[in-house]
Subunit: 355 residues, 2 copies
DNA sequence: GTGAAAGCGCTAACAT
DNA sequence: ATGTTAGCGCTTTCAC
């Protein structure tokens, strides 16, 4: 079953000989068939099929200086929000003949630099990065590469070049404002802790926004917790709630930097017999699928990550076609607060007995 | 901030001139530094740094016929199990200088064929596919490509070539055996429905294994449900439970083809005041992170997908180095039943009142 | 330990 | 509408 000795893969020259045309004609049939007479085209296509010829895009890219690669670097593939961005990007780009080159960093900036170096050797036509924190060497590589660089999933003050995303700082502020408006004063937050180079910059921005807004309202932020290394997930939420309750048994509401942690909080509440939202209000970020399904459904901040990916894809297409006028693009995809069942106004339903 | 006119990217020739050596010497410094005298090497490295030179792997690949690409096609990136496979693969392969080329099919075989075609144009050195169902054209492309083909996440009877995975059919059987052993007879199952070319073959294999085992035990499989298009997730579970309960209010246990659906079942139970496991036992597949966190924790079948990815990576390395003796490799990574809180023996705790 | 020549498979640019 | 020439940036192979 396994291949015996490999007979040489057919090249465009083999096709051209079989069809009795020049190599350029074959190339044209492949890239812009309308340039070729229907009869010739048909002969070429038959030769291609008969030989099982498959174009070598690396060779083509070398000649045309268009590789058709777009690089994408995310913190991790195993986070649904990031894989959804990749999904949205692919939808737009693969139609245009581009192939995504995906790498991940595990939230490590040093690793990001390594990946940038590797990816640049593949001559991508554009590079999409998550956020805007990079090592100095990485930034310098990016500048020298002289390709469009798009930061996604944050709207940095000083983007390397283009940016498509939303403000994580504002997300944190919105969460705090909402909880404050509901009348809470003993408000906790659960986020991740930076460990060396391993940092969730976007999550940290949300935490800062949250703290800033508490401060503006004159509310103490002693319950804003950072514990556990990124990626922040269920277990961070469960452990975070335990810590918060030990710090202040009178805790009224909790914001988690990620829905996953928020669900972790809710599950820990179930284990402890704490009723959500009667005894404790819980709020998340990201609107992961589980947020709609958990009981009670999670009040959270929604970002359309698929749309974010698609907008990024379209921006890249415009940029590469020289269709983009003006300087760096900054596209804000916005942020929606989704009120579901996990937050109640202070005092609401406090009297009711356990279900 | 945006680049002005792009000054030509430095090539290996620029480096060689600056360092006063031939291009071959530069190439050697990059690929096997020990071949070059330390003094020469240092001069070359300085020239590389000064120019900000980055190797062009496409040109190198053209000459060496080694692209350093490994292709991976999964049904979707947004499923943690598949992205974990990608993670494990990358861990092993990127150390060896390979770059993963990831595509997804949305569970559509036609789309898989398209992706195979696109990927082959990049001349990957090996191709990793999920499962073993492909269109005829796709199989033929794969054979002609004359590269190692590895099927993962299933152990097909007739793999295209190599396979690393586990038996989904056996997974279904294990689930049924377990539920049967616990004394249940009114047993339901929740799986996805095939819609045209959109099929979750691995999930369907689990469903079949489940049915086969029920049949062996003489238990009716009228409660084995297939509804909703793949990917199977939370909502399938919630809707599935509703259907099952309408079919048979005396339902005792439910197996879901995916943990996500199983969690959907548990959440629907919470909404309906059905106690898990006292009133209903629930079992999943996949051991997703949420399975450990949900209340009660989910009894499920665990597959080490990261290990699966790593084993696949190592197999590829062996294959490419000619280190692999014999014919097609078939590696079974096995399957573990994890007993947690969501399944009770029949009759256990039946008497207790709703919480 | 280092270099020169040749060529990987394709397309841009210019003919015809 | 099709063909010819030259060359993309690198590594193989063989010299020295």
């Amino acid at each position: 079953m396994s291949s015996g000795r490999s007979t040489r893969r057919p090249t465009i020259r083999d096709v051209s000989r079989l069809a009795g045309v020049s190599r350029m004609t074959v190339s044209r049939v492949l890239s812009d068939p309308d340039l070729v007479l229907p009869a010739t085209r048909a002969r070429v296509q038959k030769a291609i099929a008969d030989l099982g010829y498959v174009l070598d895009r690396a060779a083509g890219g070398l000649a045309s200086r268009r590789t058709g690669f777009i690089a994408l670097i995310v913190p991790t593939l195993t986070n649904a929000n990031f894989s959804t961005v990749a999904h949205g990007l692919t939808e737009v780009l693969s139609k245009a003949g581009f192939q995504l080159l995906i790498s991940y960093t595990d939230y490590d900036l040093g690793e990001e630099e390594t990946q940038i170096r590797n990816l640049l050797a593949r001559r991508p036509e554009a590079m999409v990065l998550t956020g805007s924190a990079h090592t100095r060497a990485a930034s310098s590589l990016l500048v020298r590469a002289d390709i469009p660089v798009i930061a996604v999933a944050d709207l940095p003050h000083r983007p390397i070049e283009h940016a498509v995303g939303f403000s994580n700082h504002q997300a944190g502020r919105m969460a705090a404002q909402y909880l404050l408006r509901k009348g809470f004063r003993r408000i906790g937050a659960v986020g991740g802790q930076s460990v060396g180079d391993v940092i969730d910059h976007r999550g940290e921005e949300r935490m800062r926004g949250f703290e800033d807004e508490l401060a503006r309202a004159g509310v103490d932020s002693d319950l804003v917790l950072r514990q556990g290394a990124p990626p922040v997930s269920f277990a961070h939420g469960a452990a975070g709630l335990a810590t918060l309750l030990a710090l202040d048994p009178g805790l009224e509401a909790v914001f988690a930097v990620s829905d996953l942690a928020a669900v972790g909080v809710i599950m820990e509440c179930q284990r402890r017999g704490i009723r959500v939202p009667q005894d404790l209000s819980v709020m998340g970020f990201g609107d992961f699928e589980i947020a709609r399904e958990v009981v009670p459904a999670l009040t959270t901040l929604h970002v359309d990550f698929r749309e974010l990916g698609q907008r990024t894809g379209r921006l890249i297409l415009d940029l590469l076609d020289g269709r983009h006028a003006g300087g760096p693009a900054v596209i804000d995809v916005g942020l929606d607060l989704l009120e579901r069942g996990s937050v109640a106004a202070k005092g609401e339903g406090v009297r009711s007995l356990p279900a």
